[in-house]
Amino acid sequence: MKLLTLNFLTCAVKSCKSTSASFPLHPKDCELVSDTLKSDPKLLFNILPRLDWSALSTTASELGFPGLPPSAPTKEELEANEKLFHDLHTLLLETHISEGSLVCANCGHSYKIKEGIANFLLPNHLV
């Protein structure tokens, strides 16, 4: 699962959704894999306004990536900053979690990731 996707996901438990603790989910015992993909400025600029920047910063620091700027860059800033563009491309699109789990800080439920596929199906008592 890509770290971009992680930024789009929260806990699937309905009562968790209204709490701030349920997002972002926290990676636990995760194996990271990195692909090499051609970067696409159009895609990254389109993704930019849809990111939750503070959640992305949390994820990056939890996984040991270098710190991100304190606030999201504008499209123009990202266009001018080649290093940040490259770093974001690597972080969001090239890095993915192959094994591990994602934990909700509100309910404590843990979602397993196996072979890069996360499972968000809930046991009956959480539906």
Binding site: T5, L9, T10, R50, I117, A118, L121, N124
Partner: protein, 440 residues
């Protein structure tokens, strides 16, 4: 200027929806002058030749586009029409190499007849060489005959047109994405042609984020990825997502060289979605399970009073075990459609599109109504008809909040009562009863 779009004479109700979507995608002002479901020739007004080529290049249901030089119901009328409408264009093509071709719909012309027809255009002052290959320009005589003309002994076409070829569509990619040659498919994979049409109608394109909440084997994801979108998908059935060994959705992306377009796939239930409520996607498209070939299920227990507590087996919480499979219950197809509309409303960007397939009985008494939502405007409804039932592709545009009428409060559908699949799904019930009316 008038242009002629030459459609394929199949999937008729999808053709104009696709071209209109492409006009929106390309930002081209399209005015349809004449169009009929019975004819493959569609006359349109477009701002330029360049726009005409751009409009059609991604189309699946168009074959090609032409610049119209003249049209009439007889050849004599056509020659007059060409002199009146396009004489100013003749000097541009005086010296280039060229070819003439004949495109006959519902009729046939032998090669000798075709040659005779072409000779009749000898009045055009073309001095350049005639080439069958590598020509600069192609002029096409487009003939339309009435249906079954041979049986009625009709000797002449009902309309004729001379047009200059401008560009062709993307129809040849249907063969590339043919399911027979695809690594990972299942019984419910959508065929390549309709998947690509769906992606076009939903405005898939470079840099856009697309999502299919019933991804299955990823037919739509591959189609969206082909057009350059980053494709996300989820499914409640983990077996679909994981596939078998190395045969899975990712293998399909790899097969077609679309790896950079693979967003992600994960296991999830739309009624308990893990996606956060934010405007994340440019397009959502899906073919939700109708509950006929594959059951429509969501998370939960059939008996709502059961399973409220954690189950422990040998001192361990059962749901934390590797082999745990969460219970699922049958769900109403109509409720699922409402859920899809609600989900699209909070997940689509402004003017983003939702497309989904839904079945209905052909008998109007058993027809399933098209669901509506105040934040979603229906842009097209296309129908593929089978013997006793049809499936429709319904497409909506997410209206910006500022344009949603304040008084439009949605009528909540009364919750379907019942716990069995038949009680919850009128289409399934009708299907297995052969869509017979009560008492007949």
């Amino acid at each position: 200027m008038e242009y002629m779009i030459r459609f394929t004479q199949s999937h008729e109700t999808f053709r104009l929806a696709e071209i209109e979507a492409l006009a929106v995608f390309e930002g081209i002002k399209l005015e349809v002058i004449s169009y009929s479901l019975d004819s493959p020739f569609c006359l349109v007004k477009l701002p330029s030749e360049e726009a005409a080529i751009r409009l059609v290049r991604r189309s699946i249901l168009a074959k090609s586009v032409y610049e119209v030089w003249g049209k009439a119901s007889t050849y004599e009328g056509l020659f007059d029409s060409i002199r009146a409408e396009s004489q100013h264009l003749w000097p541009l093509y005086e010296t280039c190499s060229f070819k003439f071709s004949v495109d006959t719909f519902q009729g046939s012309r032998t090669p000798a007849e075709q040659r005779n027809l072409i000779e009749r255009f000898g009045f055009l002052p073309f001095e350049g060489p005639i080439k069958m290959k590598g020509f600069d320009q192609e002029f096409c005589i487009l003939e339309e005959w009435v249906h079954d003309s041979a049986a009625f002994g009709i000797q002449d076409p009902q309309s004729v047109c001379l047009a200059r070829y401008l560009g062709s569509s993307a129809r040849d990619i249907i063969a590339k994405y043919d399911l027979k040659k695809r690594k990972y498919i299942s019984t419910t994979s959508m065929d390549a042609e309709l998947s690509l049409v769906t992606a076009n109608i939903t405005l898939a394109g470079p840099g856009k984020l697309f999502y299919d909440p019933f991804v299955g084997t990823g037919s739509f994801s591959v189609a969206c990825a082909h057009f350059g979108a980053l494709a996300f998908g989820s499914d409640i059935d983990g077996r679909n997502i994981r596939g078998k060994g190395k045969v899975n959705i990712l293998a399909n992306f790899d097969q077609y060289g679309l790896m950079p377009q693979f967003g992600d796939s994960f296991v999830a239930d739309l009624t308990n979605t893990p996606l956060r409520a934010a405007r994340l996607f440019d397009g959502i498209l899906c073919d939700p399970p109708y509950g006929v070939r594959e059951g429509l299920k969501v998370l939960g227990s059939r008996d709502p009073t059961k399973g409220r507590e954690v189950v422990y087996l040998n001192g361990k919480a059962h749901h934390t075990e590797e082999d745990y499979i969460p219970p699922k219950r049958p769900y109403s197809f109509l409720a699922m459609l409402d859920d899809i509309l609600d989900f699209a409303t909070f997940s689509l960007v402004d003017n983003g599109r939702l497309s989904f397939w839904m079945p209905t009985a052909n008998d109007e008494n058993q027809e399933i109504q098209v669901p509506q939502h105040p934040c979603l405007e229906i842009t097209s409804i296309c129908t593929q008809t089978f013997n006793r039932w049809s499936r429709r592709l319904i497409t909506y545009r997410r209206i910006p909040d500022s344009e949603v009428p304040a008084e439009a409060i949605r009528e909540q559908r009364a919750k379907e009562q019942g716990i069995s699949a038949d009680d919850l799904n009128p289409f399934r019930k009708g299907y297995f009863k052969g869509f017979k009316l009560n008492g007949k």
